[in-house]
């Protein structure tokens, strides 16, 4: 139904589309954020649809104590706003009585709460005063009308930035959720490079926020953190430009950017990182054999698409048919764009029916797409790799490059392995 237009000097093939979008809303980010910060609770203020979404996404996990919930708006709440605020206060009080171990409460805005203009920022402020010292109450929007999937994490981290203590100390701040083991590994490697203070946002405990100030150099571990990055810069931090740490090339360049910002000698960087690169290449090699020459089509989902396409094209030898992204932040993806082959077709936004027509016409060897499309495409004989897994898997760093390649090779390997004749 949408409109398409082509506008870009450097990437003449950038396709901007609007129409039906087959993507998650930002509320979905709660599914991994609540695991990263177990002392936080995510309270969505929304409708039964919001509650149903999160439960459908996280429902396979069986919880003894859920760390997220929904304040479902009723007809009474829609009638008058003052009433809704009182209701919210009552509900939060009840929740905190039941769950005294909660240290940070995120009030998460949704489409309904945004449309009726329920002021959750004000509500957070009010509750903060009431609960002073015991629980921090923060607010961000994960609504579908404003955010797509991983942008929910961007908004959540953005809400935490004002709470970070100020400090001039020299430090490297890694921003974006990483798997615990990957984070430990990266911190250890930066230590070997001679960078002593490495901190993370989000932290593992919501109360242990890293400091921020002019001595802080920021490396984004995820490409979807536009607003958070700008807020950190506004607090005096310096944003380091680098591709994202996917594959050995991206990871090396990413860590080298961190090292360079601390004046680490290139020889030292090479001594620490080159063996990892070499080892990573060995781990990728068997997967590259399978992936090389295969044609790849990525549908928009998480904003990881450009980085993954770069890794799969340069390190695994795949050919790119189309790289879709829900939103393209030129500044944050500058280094990635420079590494993509000239003329790569990049599409921003989506008109899902038209995009599927392009998929069918191109008959790619592998389509990276969401779970709403994966089985239907498989049934049409098109191999898929479901994209959400990439947000839940440890894929960052040189040591994970083989695992990352394997995620894509597995789909193809499985198709070859199955036979029912």
């Amino acid at each position: 139904m949408g409109a398409s237009s082509v506008v870009d000097d450097r990437h003449p093939s950038l396709l901007k589309e609007s129409g039906q979008r087959e993507v998650f809303c930002g509320l979905t980010s709660i599914v991994w954020l609540h695991r990263r910060m177990p002392d936080a609770f995510f309270l969505v203020v929304g409708s039964r649809t919001c509650a149903h979404l999160i439960q459908s996404a996280a429902g396979v996990m069986i919880f003894a104590e859920p760390r997220f919930g929904t304040a479902i708006l009723g007809e009474r709440d829609l009638a008058g706003l003052a009433d809704a605020n009182e209701e919210l206060d009552r509900l939060v009080t009840d929740l905190l009585v039941r769950r005294p171990e909660i240290r940070t409460l995120f009030l998460v805005g949704s489409c309904p709460s945004e449309v009726i203009k329920l002021d959750l920022a004000k509500a957070a402020e009010r509750l903060n005063t009431q609960l002073a010292g015991r629980v921090k109450v923060l607010n961000y929007s994960g609504s579908g009308i404003e955010t797509t999937f991983t942008q929910g994490e961007d908004k959540a981290l953005l809400a935490m930035v004002p709470l970070m203590p100020s400090s001039d100390v020299d430090q490297l701040l890694i921003v974006g959720t990483l798997a615990d083991a990957v984070e430990d590994r990266l911190v250890q490697l930066f230590g070997r490079l001679g960078i002593p203070v490495v901190t993370s946002l989000p932290p593992r405990r919501s109360t242990e926020l890293p400091p921020i100030g002019p001595g802080t150099r920021v490396l984004l571990a995820q490409p979807f953190l536009s607003d958070t990055a700008r807020a950190l810069v506004n607090r005096g931090a310096r944003l380091l430009a680098a591709p994202y740490p996917f594959g050995v090339e991206g990871s090396r360049a990413w860590m080298a950017a961190g090292a360079e910002a601390f004046g680490v000698a290139p020889a030292q960087v090479a001594a620490v990182l080159d063996p990892l690169v070499e080892r990573g290449r060995r781990a990728i090699a068997p997967h590259r054999e399978l992936l090389a020459g295969k044609r790849l089509f990525l549908l928009p989902d998480s904003q990881l698409e450009l980085s993954l396409a770069r890794f799969l094209q340069r390190e695994c030898g795949m050919e790119l048919v189309e790289v879709g992204t829900p939103y393209l932040d030129r500044q944050l993806l500058d280094a990635e764009l420079a590494l993509l082959p000239e003329g790569t077709r990049i599409s921003e936004g989506q008109d899902v029916e038209r995009q599927l027509e392009r998929v069918r016409a191109a008959r790619p060897d592998l389509v990276v797409c969401g779970l709403g499309l994966a089985n239907p495409l498989e049934a049409e004989g098109i191999a898929t790799k479901w994209s959400i897994e990439l947000v839940f898997s440890p894929i960052h760093g040189c040591d994970q490059a083989g695992d990352l390649a394997e995620l894509f090779a597995r789909s193809l390997r499985r198709r070859a392995a199955l036979s029912f004749a």
Binding site: M1, Q20, R21, E22, V23, F24, C25, T28, V45, S47, R48, T49, A51, H52, Q55, V60, I62, F63, E65, P66, F68, A71, I72, L73, G74, E75, L78, A84, E87, L88, D94, L95, C111, E114, V115, I116, S143, G144, I145, E146, T148, A181, Q188, R279, G280, R282, A283, P286, H287, E353, G370, L371, G372, L373, N375, P376, A379, D399, G402, D403
Partner: protein, 544 residues
């Protein structure tokens, strides 16, 4: 405002999606914000469907709100009709669209859509829920499609026994089965086969697998079988009122209920009751032997089931059926009975009263959990949600009703209805109890070398306090002495604390394999100490 940690039902438009997706030739244009397409996953993942649901979403964003969202709706409708060429169109809103009030149904009514039937769905998202949405959608769709066939007021009701005069077999419609319903796929097969045994044909199954043209054949049947009252209750009542069609209301889940169902059907259609369905002196009938449940339940192995305390919660239909099976056919003691289906509260209260209980009518998962804890049952029969509470309380649990997850849409034939359904039920309900018994023994004899904590299956960590991540016996030794394994010719292979720490971060289910691989790698390379580097070296080495 209501705090919800888990919701038993989705919003009403998900019920409408269930009707559209269950059917063929129907398309649904849903005015909804970006992100609401998550509901597609319910069908492509949980139901494992091989095609996209027939739903076009407008997926409006914040920037569209400043513009003309009504125009967006109209564009979506005309494009969906042109692309998918449906035989009937549903038009409706999700909860957010309901707030901006674009009246998509009215907009569709004013468009030239080539004369296809258009059903405008009014589903109040802030007061109603999924099953209501499904029931309302089916009702509105059937009503819309049968408008032309409506008999004039004061018409003579057709006799359910007219098949005899017309010299054909009796035929009935099976109404209610839908996607995301509990085991509907196999229930339909079971009941169709059961009816065939008694010479009764199935005219229309709806909504599952039906086209709009099939719905128009509904009045050609002699009676309606209301298999799932939550979805088909209102349409059956309307067909009774408007077309005079009789309805079979007994839901055939369980031995007794299946026998009653067949007797009700025979009586209604004027069929002679076969000897196999005549109740004998002990109240049972010969046809029951088609199921193994009665004998399995009477056999001595089942004696220990007597008086087991069971807590039942689900949609009203499945909860009521389960209560009857549990109390009469398995010899359990029902200590709690409840449902989230407010629409069927009366029937549920009656069933609970028969068991000397007060029914729990609630959609608050915490209230259900509290009632469960208070009843202290030995078995919970519930929904996907009750699995959570049962895990927390360390009680064995089996799922009997939606909401369900992917494991309850199995590949194998697994009806709940009819004789085979009773077999499936016997296995499914008794299975967790066996596990429960095993678990007790483990609780009593904790030093057992084979049945250690980590060995447990579905209830892992529920009854026992959570132990540290590294629960393997090997790790317990490691705490006392460094793990050392013989290294032929080179002394011993030792894990450094740093290596151990790295290993502990590997998820427990693959940790053993990683340990083995790393040690094999270290031996091969003649390493004596395994540190984190060696672990990563080995990981890269074995990653192919």
């Amino acid at each position: 405002m209501e705090l919800t940690l888990w919701t038993y039902e989705g919003p009403p438009h998900v019920g409408a999606m269930r009707i559209a997706t269950s059917m063929e030739g129907v398309h649904y244009v849903l005015h909804a914000p970006q992100g609401d397409t998550y509901a597609d996953l319910l069908f492509t993942m949980i139901e494992r469907r091989d095609k996209r649901p027939p739903v076009t979403y407008t997926t409006f964003q914040a920037r569209d709100l400043g513009g003309d969202t009504a125009e967006l709706v109209k564009r979506s409708i005309s494009e969906a009709v042109a692309r998918f060429q449906p035989e009937a169109l549903l038009v409706g809103e999700s909860c957010t669209a309901e707030l901006i009030q674009d009246q998509p149904g009215a907009l569709a009514g004013g468009m030239d859509l080539g004369g296809i039937p258009v059903v405008n769905l009014e589903l109040p998202a802030y007061s109603k829920k999924e099953n209501w949405g499904a029931a309302e959608t089916l009702y509105q769709l059937v009503r819309g499609l049968l408008k032309a066939q409506l008999p004039s007021p004061g018409f003579a009701k057709p006799s359910p026994q007219r098949w005899r005069d017309e010299g054909r077999r009796p035929r009935v419609n099976l109404l209610g089965p839908s996607l995301l319903g509990f085991r509907c796929r196999d229930d339909v097969r079971e009941i169709t086969a059961l009816l065939a045994e008694y010479g009764v044909e199935v005219a229309v199954v709806a909504p599952l697998g039906a086209r709009p043209a099939d719905l128009q054949r509904i009045p050609t049947a002699d009676a309606n079988v209301c298999l799932y009252p939550e979805v088909a209750g209102s349409v059956c009542s309307w067909l009774e009122r408007s077309f005079g069609m009789a309805t079979v209301r007994t839901v055939p889940i369980g031995i007794g209920a299946t026998a009653s169902f067949l007797r009700e059907l025979h009586q209604l259609l004027g069929l002679e009751l076969p000897a196999a369905l005549q109740p004998g002196a002990d109240g049972t009938c010969a046809a029951e032997r088609r199921s193994r449940l009665p004998w399995y339940s009477r056999s001595v192995d089942s004696t220990y089931l007597t008086g087991k305390r069971v807590f039942i919660f689900g949609d009203a239909t499945h909860a009521i059926a389960a209560a009857r099976i549990a109390s009469r056919e398995l010899g359990f003691q029902v200590v709690g009975l409840g449902s989230y289906s407010r629409e069927q509260a009366r029937e549920l209260r009656a069933a609970a009263a028969e068991l000397g209980l007060e029914a729990l009518i609630s959609d608050d998962y915490l209230a259900v959990e509290a009632a469960m804890a208070a009843a202290a049952p030995e078995l919970v029969l519930g929904t996907q949600m009750e699995r959570h509470s049962a895990k927390r309380l360390g009680i064995p649990c089996a799922v009997i009703s939606a909401p369900l997850h992917v494991q309850d849409v199995p590949a194998r034939y697994s009806p709940q209805m009819g004789w085979e359904g009773a077999n499936v039920i016997f296995d499914a309900w008794v299975h967790p109890l066996m596990m429960g018994l095993e678990e007790h023994l483990i609780g009593m004899f904790r030093h057992d070398f084979e049945f250690v904590d980590g060995h447990l299956s579905h209830l892992e960590g529920a009854s026992a306090p959570t132990r540290p991540a590294e629960a393997e016996p090997a790790r317990d030794q490691a705490a006392a002495t460094p793990v050392a394994t013989a290294l032929p010719g080179h002394g011993e292979l030792v894990w450094s604390p740093d290596g151990e720490a790295e290993l502990a971060k590997i998820p427990f289910f693959v940790r053993g394999k990683v340990r083995k691989n790393t040690e094999a790698y270290a031996r091969e390379r003649g390493l004596e100490v395994i540190d984190s580097e060696a672990l990563y070296e080995a990981k890269a080495h074995f990653s192919s």
